[in-house]
Symmetry: C2
Subunit: 109 residues, 2 copies
């Protein structure tokens, strides 16, 4: 319980992502989105049809949304472990649950 | 009416944006969004709090959405003129209408 209290005290600002793999995953997603965004600028410069540009813009939006969800799920996983002391559970039960949560959040946004 | 028929014939693919000012506006918006996206990558690399990153991601999403709406309204304006032969109308009545449409579309997305 001592750890929980300490976390609550420093919990005024929300914590960052400590896991390197999670951060790398987010960075890769954002880099891809940045590339897509440059592609759209090229399409506008080249005078491509509005409908094609619209499709690409929708794709970037989707990529950003799934990055957002991914960040939230990574955060959830990290905080379940650090604030509530949850480990992997049996047979990766926590990972499986979080994967379901990610799917659910992916539908709504 | 001849012009309308010609437009309909080539209308299998949706047309592009012909207006340079409109394209420049879209390009500027996308460049700003690209800069914001790079800023988010920096924030992740520096280990900023998830909440701050989330705010910035929401801002990029909003910027992309308003770019999308802007493109749609520019397209609408152009096609009203080219397909239906509408001009500026009296006292910029068309511009005023399209501004209202842009506001409405901005609310829903």
């Amino acid at each position: 319980m001592g750890a929980t209290t300490a976390t609550a005290a420093e919990g005024c600002t929300m914590s960052n992502l400590a896991d390197d793999a999670a951060r790398t995953d987010l960075l890769n997603r954002l880099r891809r989105a940045e590339g897509q965004l440059r592609g759209i600028q090229r399409m506008i410069e080249e005078g491509q049809p509005c409908l094609d540009i619209a499709s690409q813009m929708a794709a970037v939006r989707k990529a950003l949304d799934s990055t957002y969800v991914r960040m939230t799920v990574c955060f959830m996983q990290q905080e379940l472990q650090s604030r509530l002391g949850m480990g992997e559970g049996k047979d990766g039960a926590l990972d499986a649950l979080l994967e379901d949560v990610q799917t659910l959040l992916g539908k709504v946004r």
